[in-house]
């Protein structure tokens, strides 16, 4: 993206910023870094300065622009509702154009080009998680045609820590008698990491491929356990089929009494993933599912729903500033512990991965579970 395009896309948006600073206390990066460059206001000022020719596109800028989590918390605090995260992502595209972006993203883009996944694994290994399946016959999972496509996403497919999640979700769907399939090795990364990396144009190929595959299956619905995949599909993929998050599907199943939920004695809290909650508007479905499980004691986090604080895993920040990401995760963990619960439920594999990794690093005893795992736990109680 060049500056002319940036101006066209974002000038009116950032011009709305009156520098009132109301967003400052909401930004997790400011909470840690304590400097203006780590504030939404600062990031908007940078965008504006670039557009008005007061700042050169240089490496200097990259630090401020590439440490935004894209969590959107600032916009919720902002009375004119300035969309900082989209402006930041546009800035990233400009910086990429002039090669002032962090080099690690070039590698990411190459990897996606070659492997179609973020972990540089053979894409055929996408179905590795099926090893965790116990009582679900393979043919139920990979079909040529189905009503529902389950889009697993890179994190759940490749990160061992998260691989149980798709297995559990598939098991639930199987027991509920749903007609679903996965795309297996034909599922490509949705392209989300490229947006955060400032390479939105590179999403096109991945998108075309995924749309084509889904069409072939003839699905009416696509279901996602990864909120960021869902968000990307909703905003960048033009398709008529219904797009759902796993928590929404689970809520429907609960509503239709298709799940035989048995008591689980557990005190839990729930972390709203940015891309599911604030950025897609799904707040109540996961809560309804949690509360429908008998025996659960549910407490809200001090900052919940629109005010939920990012886990530190957003916006590819982990790749450029791991210390910042870790410090934000640490604060998230402290917030969770402040509720005096030992179990946090989320419905995003990336959030869980960030929280668990950092808790382990600090030797903090914290149990982090995906919503699907909690549901399966309830189903499998005697």
């Amino acid at each position: 993206m060049n500056i002319v395009q940036l101006k066209k896309l974002q000038y009116e948006e950032v011009a709305k910023c009156t520098r009132c600073g109301f967003c400052l206390p909401n930004c997790p990066t400011y909470a840690v870094r304590r400097n203006e460059a780590s504030t939404p206001r600062g990031r908007n000022a940078i965008t504006r300065a670039i557009i008005e020719g007061r700042l050169e596109l240089s490496d200097d800028l990259a630090e401020a622009i590439f440490t935004c989590l894209g969590c959107g918390a600032c916009t919720k605090a902002c009375f004119p509702a300035v969309n900082t995260k989209d402006s930041v992502f546009s800035d990233r595209a400009c910086l990429t154009e002039v090669h002032a972006n962090p080099k690690i993203f070039e590698k990411l883009s190459e990897a996606l080009n070659e492997y179609h996944n973020i972990s540089e694994d053979d894409n055929e290994d996408r179905a590795e998680w099926q090893e965790y399946l116990k009582d679900v016959p393979g043919e139920f999972i990979e079909k040529d045609h189905a009503e529902i496509v389950y889009f697993v996403g890179c994190v759940a497919s490749f990160f061992p820590m998260a691989q149980k999640i798709p297995a559990d979700f598939a098991t639930i769907m199987y027991h509920a008698g749903l007609d679903f399939t996965i795309l297996g090795g034909e599922e490509w990364c949705c392209g989300f990491p490229l947006i955060g990396a400032g390479m939105p144009e590179k999403v096109a190929e991945l998108k075309a491929h995924n749309l084509e595959k889904i069409k072939r299956v003839g699905a009416k619905k696509a279901v996602f356990s990864c909120p960021s995949c869902l968000h990307t599909w909703k905003h960048l993929y033009d398709t008529d089929i219904e797009l759902l998050h796993s928590s929404q599907l689970l809520r429907d199943l609960v509503g239709q009494n298709k799940l035989d939920l048995k008591p689980v004695e557990l005190k839990v809290t729930y972390h709203d993933p940015c891309d599911l909650g604030r950025n897609t508007g799904v707040f109540e479905e996961p809560r309804e599912v949690i509360k429908s499980i008998p025996g659960i004691e549910f407490v809200e986090l001090p900052n919940n729903r629109n005010m939920s604080v990012c886990c530190g895993g957003g916006g590819n920040v982990e790749m450029v500033a791991p210390d910042l990401s870790a410090a934000i995760a640490q604060r998230k963990i402290e917030e969770i512990l402040s509720t005096e619960t030992k179990t946090v439920i989320s419905s995003c594999q990336q959030c869980l991965r960030t929280i668990v990794t950092n808790a382990r690093r600090q030797n903090i005893e914290l149990n982090a579970m995906d919503l699907t795992q909690l549901v399966l736990k309830s189903l499998s109680q005697k």
Binding site: A15, G21, R34, I46, P80
Partner: protein, 461 residues
């Protein structure tokens, strides 16, 4: 000293990570919520008084200006480093050092967010009363710098009425305490002079505040009016009745609409004005007073008076009020707020003239203000990218301030002079007055190193 050498010395004082000097950083520390921008030469983010003291001493030795900065929400250019130099950002000095429940005092560092202090003391059943609309992001240091007010200041007074003592770094780096937790220390009221001095007399590194009991009961009413005159008359009539509520806040149609678009506070979009009237104190008698207020509203042709049923309804009314400035930038990207204040009896008349000025200059003006205090906030809406329009806005703003002064008022009620209203200082002060202020400035800051170019116009002009 070369700038690089200065930066190096600063790094030795506050540490590598907390000295910022990249092109981007300098641009980012050049603004506040007002229009003007100026770059500093270097930014430091100190951790304690000792570091601040060393930074100031170095600046003194090297004859470099120092400007303090909290959250930079000032609306008058307060933290903008007009003459460059060092900006001290207080974001890391944000600890609440002590909450002394028995003595009803708290001690905080200047970077503490106003609302964070309020939340912390509320847990102990106490309150810190001054509540600027920016409380969720403004710092205590900034509140002290500007002597901030807020809706509840009608009853409880502004920031200065709640500041008991300060720790300040003087121009040469020396550190002294003024006031204190105990009352009536003999000597000049330095604390009172420092509050509202916009960082031009000394750098505050610790603040001792007075806390008060939370009220036993609160009642919040929303009066909805068909004309702004009816609402203004109601304000006068309530005060005339011998009732001083906790708040008397007014918003006009333009602001109501903008706010409703941002949050659904439940203000009717077709009303010309709303009043937020809040009573607090003992529960006994409150019902009768509220009824009396409703009667007064009715006598002034109110369309409807809504009573907030619970804490949630009350919060949403206030959220709307606090977001009013921000919300209007949905209509036009910028606003200029004229902070003129008039004797409250002059309110209706001055409001009418403000509307006329808007018409005269062909500029949209919204009103949201502390009606009970006579503190106007006409918001002139514009787009600062349009230079001709911006010039017109400045002219209209000056005219509104002149209008306030002519009505027996003043040019700033709570936002400060900064660099915004230097020119208008001559509306209210004679050259002798200004000279008297300069003598005080010189007593505190003989070298003129603190926030130069603010508050006081030069003697020649």
């Amino acid at each position: 000293m070369e700038i690089d050498a200065l930066r190096q010395r600063l790094k030795e004082i506050v540490g590598q990570d907390f000295v910022l000097s990249s092109n981007v950083d300098l641009m980012l520390y050049g603004y506040d919520a007002y229009l003007e921008m100026r770059r500093p030469d270097v930014v430091v983010i100190p951790e304690n008084t000792e570091q601040v003291s060393q930074v100031v001493r170095l600046a003194y030795e090297e004859a470099v200006p120092v400007t303090a900065r909290g959250s930079a929400t000032s609306l008058s250019g307060g933290p903008v480093p007009l003459k460059g130099g060092i900006v001290i950002h207080f974001s890391r000095m944000n600890r609440i050092l002590e909450i002394d429940v028995v003595n009803k005092r708290a001690r905080v560092e200047p970077g503490v967010i106003t609302l964070d202090l309020q939340t912390a003391v509320a847990k102990k059943g106490l309150q810190y009363a001054p509540d600027p609309a920016s409380q969720k992001t403004s710092t205590m240091g900034g509140n002290v710098g500007e002597n901030s007010g807020g809706p509840h200041c009608l009853k409880y007074g502004v920031t200065t009425n709640h500041i008991m003592g300060l720790k300040i770094v003087l121009y040469d780096g020396e550190v002294v305490d003024t006031g204190g937790k105990a009352p009536d220390r003999p000597g000049y009221d330095l604390t009172g002079l420092l509050v509202g001095s916009e960082g031009t007399l000394g750098i505050v590194t610790e603040i001792t505040v007075r806390l008060i009991e939370q009220p036993e009961a609160i009642k919040t009413l929303l009066g909805i009016f068909e004309t702004i005159e009816d609402a203004s008359n109601t304000v006068s009539a309530i005060i005339a009745e011998g009732i001083v509520p906790a708040t008397l806040e007014m918003m006009d149609r333009l602001v109501i609409r903008a706010v409703e678009e941002s949050v659904h506070a439940g203000y009717p979009q077709d009303a010309e004005a709303v009043l937020i009237i809040e009573l607090d104190g003992l529960k006994d008698g409150m019902e009768r007073i509220a009824d009396r207020i409703i009667e007064i509203c009715l006598a002034n042709k109110v369309r409807e008076v809504k009573v907030a049923k619970d804490e949630t309804e009350r919060n949403i009314l206030w959220t709307g009020r606090r977001g009013a400035f921000g919300a209007v930038s949905r209509l036009r990207p910028n606003y200029m707020v004229c902070d003129g204040t008039v004797p409250r009896t002059k309110l209706p008349e001055v409001l009418r003239r403000v509307t006329e000025i808007g018409r005269e200059y062909n500029l949209p003006i919204g009103n949201v203000f502390h009606a009970g205090d006579g503190n106007l906030h006409p918001l002139i809406l514009f787009d600062c990218r349009n230079e001709e329009e911006t010039a017109r806005v400045r002219e209209a703003g000056t005219k509104i301030l002149r209008l306030c002064v002519d009505a027996g008022g003043t040019i700033s009620g709570e936002h400060g002079i900064g660099l915004e209203k230097l020119h208008e200082m001559s509306f209210i002060f004679s050259p002798d007055d200004i000279a008297a202020l300069w003598k005080l400035k010189n007593a505190f800051d003989p070298v003129g190193g603190f926030n130069p170019g603010k508050v006081l116009p030069s003697l020649a002009s």
